[in-house]
Symmetry: C2
Subunit: 83 residues, 2 copies
């Protein structure tokens, strides 16, 4: 359930997964935050230029949080989007 994320792409994926799990669309996230639907889209697609504030706003809207920890020996199965 917890998602390991080391790249913008993995972070975007984890966000999209959780959003869908909550049965929400990008527009509803836009309403919960002050972000545009286009911005949500960019984040989920892994835009590396996404700003930290933007990301934190989205996480809050999805009731998610970051945990920062030393890297684990990656079981490949847990890191799903190397490419």
């Amino acid at each position: 359930m917890d998602q390991i994320a080391r790249t913008p792409k993995q972070i975007g994926d984890a966000i999209r997964r959780q959003r869908r799990k909550l049965g929400l669309n990008q527009t509803s996230i836009r309403d919960k935050t002050k972000l545009r639907q286009a911005t949500i889209s960019a984040v989920e697609r892994g835009a590396p230029g996404t700003q930290l504030g933007t990301l934190c706003d989205i996480l809050a809207a999805l009731d998610l949080e970051f945990v920062i920890r030393p890297r684990t020996k990656a079981k490949p199965a847990e890191i799903e989007d190397i490419f």
Copy 2:
């Protein structure tokens, strides 16, 4: 040991803590990445405009990773820098 982080400030703090734990200074992170020392400084100080790519580069240099998970009921002790 794992750090909960919900804001740019908390993320910056966790990074700084780990960097120091590893006995590194900002200049050595600059050498491991292609970032300027001034940029490392800004990230650790919690600049909300920090870009995701920048952040991931720093995490990699410190051998850290993100985990994204549903928010836990915060024990205040674990969330140390609300202000």
